[in-house]
Assembly symmetry: D3
Homo-oligomer: 187 residues x 6
C-alpha cells in the first residue's frame, strides 16, 4: 500500500473499512460482528447525543475527532486490546501515526491534528470521544447478549472496558446500562 | 415496536442498524453489501472531507444532518429507489416523520429539525449532505466493481444516481470518479 | 429497472429474491435470516401439507397464490410490518400492483389475478395462504429461538403476528406451536 | 434424528433446509450460494410458469412433485453430482426413501408416492420437474456469472447439467439462455 | 471434475475445502459453522497435543493420517452421520477411494496408503486419529454452546459422537469436557 | 484473557481461531476470506506434500512447526503485513512470545521451542515452513481470482509476497503458479 495522493484514492480505500471486524467480539464467538465503520458511526452518534449535555463542549471538534479516530484500521486491522498490552509502550502510536500519514494523503494535516488531540486526551472533546468509545463497546455487548450471544461475560468483568467516569452524562448512562443489562453484582 | 422512552433504549435499538443492508446493492447480487450504518458514516466522512472547501458552510450543522439522515431505516429497512417511486407523493415522508418521532424518544426534537432541513434541501448544509449521499453511492459502486462485482453497470446508466452538481467540489470529485472508474462513454 | 419483456429476463431477476432478507428477523438481531424465497417455499409447503384437510379447497389455486404472493419484493425489498402501518391506506397495494406488472412481464396477467385474489382475502384459498403466511412466521420464530436467538419474545406478544384462526387446521397447529415453543402464559 | 411423529416436528425440522447450501456452486467458489429451499422454490416457479404451455399437463401434480423433490436433503445434505456418480447403483435412492419416510412422519405416504413418480420419470409431470431442476441449475449459473463469479465455465461444458430436451418450452428457454449467457461456441 | 494431473491443480482445488461446511452443525442451526479444513486442523492439533502421551506412538504417521483423513470431502461434501447410516455397507468407502484417487493425482499413492490405514483402524496411529476426530466434534459442540447455540443437546445424547475410549489421554480429556460443558447427568 | 491452565481450556479457546480472518484478503475486498485455521492447514499440507522432495528434511519437525506457527493469532488477530512493517523491530516478536506463553499453558514449552526455530529460520525445516507460508498466500490469491475476485493484482506486484526461492521444489511450484495464474509479464 502506498500513499494516497488524491482524495478519491483515499475514499475508495476507506470503503474496505466496512469489512474490518471488531476483533474483541469475533474472538468471543460473535457471528458477523460490527465493522470498524459501524463502531465509528455509533461513537459519533453517542458524541452527538450526549455532547449538548457536556458544559462548554465544542461539539464540532468532538465530532471531528470521533469520525476519524479509528481510520488507521483500514490498514492495520483492529488490534484486540489483549494484543495491545503486549506491545512496547509507544510503538503502536508511532506506527499509527505513520499509517495515518500515508493513508490520509491530502487530508493528512487535518487527521494528524485530530489524532494528536485524541491520543493526548487532555481536552474535554478528546475525553468525551474516549469515553464514548468505551461506552459504545459495552452497549454493543449488551445488544449482542440480547440477541443470543453467550460468551461475553468477560467484558463485564474487566473495568478496562468501562468508560472513564469523569464525564457525568457518560457515567450515568453507563450505570443505567450496567444495571439493566450487566451481570448480577454477585457474579 | 414502541416509542423509546429513554436514550438507552434508543441506543440499544440503533445497534441493529448495522444489520440493515443497502438494498440497491443486494438486489444487484453484491455479497455482504454495506449496512445503513456504514453508508451513513461514509456520507458523514465525505461531508467532513469536502466541507471546508464549500464557502460559507456550517460544518457542524452539515455533520449533524449527515449523522441522522437515515436513522429511520432501523425501523423501516432500506427502501430501494425503485420502490420509492411507486409510493404516492408524500406518503413516505409522513411515515418517516412518524417513525423518527417514535424512535428518537428524548432526541426527537433535534432529529425532527435536522430531518426537516434535510428534506427541504434548501440550505447549503442539507444540499451538501444530499449530494454526498449520492456521491457515496457511486464511490461504493466503483469499489464493488474493483472487488469483482459484475452487475452494477445499471448504476452508471441512471443519472438519478448521480449527485446533483450544484456544488463544485462534489461535481469535480464525481467527474474524477466517473472518468477513472465508470463505464466507457460509448457504452 | 425495466419491464421484463421475456420470461428469461424475469427468471434471471428472480434469482436475487434469494438475497432479500426477511426484515422482521434481521431487525431483531437474527444472523443470516431466511430470504423471501425461503419464506415463500415454506408457505407453499404449509399450504400443501394442510390443504387436504381444508374441506372444499382448490389446492392448485392455493398453491399458485402461495408461490407468487411475495414476488414483488424482488424489487421493493421486504417492508417490515412496522413500516407498513405508517403508509397511507392503499398506497402500498397500488405500488405493489405496478411493480408486479413491470416485473412479471409475460406472466403479468396470471400474477395480477392471483394477487388480486390474495389481497381481497375472500376465497378459501386466499385465506389459507394468508393464514399460512403468519403461521410460517411464528414457526420460524420458534426455530430461531431453538437455535439460540434471544430477542424474539416480542413476536409472541403481538397477536398481529398470529394466523387468523378461522381455519381449523391452522388454528390447531398454531396452538400446538404456542404451547410447545411460545413463552410461558404468565409472561 | 428420529421419525417425526407430528406435523409440527416435521415443519420445525424443515426450517433448517434454508441452511443447506447447494454444493455444486459452493465447490466452485460461489460465496453464499442458494439453499436447497431456494432451489426448490425456483424449480416450482419454473413448473408453474411453463406448465400451461405443456399440453395435457396436470399442473397440480407437477407442482406437488416440485415442492417435495429435494426434501430429504434436510437430513442428508446436498450431494454434489460428482459424489453421486461414485455410489453403487440404487444405494442413494434406497437411502433417500428411508430418510424421507422417517422425516415426513404424518405426510410419509404422500411424499413417498410423489417421490416414486419423480424417480421413475415416466409421467409428463415428473419429466417436467426433472427438466426444470436442470434448467434452474443453469439459470442460476448465469445469474452468478452476471454477479461476478468466475469459475463456473465447467457447468456449461458438461451436457449432464442441461435439461433433457424432450419438452419444447424447456428446450426453447434453455437455448435462449445458452445463447444469451453461455460461453461462446468456440470455447 | 477430472483427475488432477499436477500437484498445482490439486492444491488449487483444495482451496475450496474451506467453503465446505460441517453438516452436523449446520443442520442444527449453527450459523457459519467450521469448514472441513478447520475441522482437519483441529484434529491434527489434538493428535500433536496428545500424541507424546500415547506410549509407542509414531507421531509423524499419526499426523499424516490426520492431515489427509477428510480430503475427499472437497469433492463429495460432508456427509452428515445420519446420511451415512443409510448407505449400504461399504459403498461410501468405495466411493471415497475412487474420489481420493482422482483427486490426489501425483500424491495418490501416499494418500491411499494413509486412508487404508485410517479405515482399517487397527494401528495405534489410526485409532488415535479416529478418537481425536470425535473428540474434536464434541469440543466444538461445547464451544458453540458457549457462544450461544441452543440446539446441540442431541450431540451429548448420542454416544456415537463420543471418542472410543481405549486411549487413556483421550478418555480423560473427554470426561473433563463432559463434566465441565456437557448437559447435567439427569437430563 | 488469562493463562490457560489446562489443555482443555487451550483447546476451547483455539476454536475461535476459525473466526479470525486473514486480513490481507479482507482488506482487498475478498468476501468470506480464509481463516487462520484454514491457512495453517494449507501450509501444513504443503509441507507434507513437498517435504519428501526436500533432501534430508525431518518431516515430523517441519509439520510440527507448520501446525503451530500462527497460534498466537487467536489472541492478537492477524496483523496485515502493512501493519507489521510499521512496528519497531522486535516488538512484535516479543509480544508474540508472551502471548504464546500465556495461551499455550501446558504446551508452552513445546510451542516455544518450535516458534524459536521458526523465527530463527536457520534450519531446513523452519525455512520450508516459511516458504510454504508464502506459497500458500499466493495459491490462495490465484484461487480467489479464479472465483471472481478483482483487486488482488497488488499481491503479484510485490516480491515480499513470494516464497524465498532457496528450496527447489518450492521455487518450481511457485514459477508454475505464476506462469499459469499470475498477471501477464508486461503488466
Amino acid at each position: 500500500m502506498r500513499r494516497n495522493d488524491t482524495l478519491l484514492e483515499l475514499l475508495l480505500e476507506l470503503q474496505t473499512l466496512d469489512r474490518v471486524p471488531r476483533m474483541g467480539y469475533l474472538l468471543r464467538g460473535v457471528t458477523d460482528p460490527e465493522s470498524i465503520t459501524e463502531h465509528t458511526w455509533h461513537v459519533a452518534f453517542l458524541v452527538w447525543a450526549l455532547g449538548p449535555r457536556v458544559p462548554g463542549l465544542d461539539l464540532l471538534r468532538a465530532l471531528e475527532i470521533a469520525l476519524v479516530h479509528d481510520l488507521a484500521e483500514v490498514r492495520t486491522g483492529d488490534l484486540p486490546r489483549v494484543a495491545k498490552r503486549y506491545f512496547a509502550h509507544g510503538t503502536q502510536e508511532a506506527a499509527e501515526r505513520e499509517v495515518m500519514d500515508e493513508l490520509s494523503g491530502p487530508l493528512a494535516e487535518r487527521t494528524a491534528e485530530l489524532m494528536a488531540e485524541y491520543r493526548a486526551a487532555e481536552t474535554k472533546e478528546a475525553r468525551l470521544v474516549k469515553a464514548c468509545d468505551k461506552l459504545q463497546l459495552m452497549i454493543k455487548v449488551a445488544a449482542y447478549e440480547r440477541w443470543g450471544a453467550g460468551w461475553l461475560g468477560e467484558f463485564w468483568d474487566n473495568p478496562e472496558n468501562f468508560p472513564e467516569l469523569g464525564i457525568d452524562v457518560v457515567r450515568d448512562l453507563f450505570e443505567e446500562l450496567r444495571t439493566a443489562h450487566g451481570p448480577p453484582p454477585s457474579r
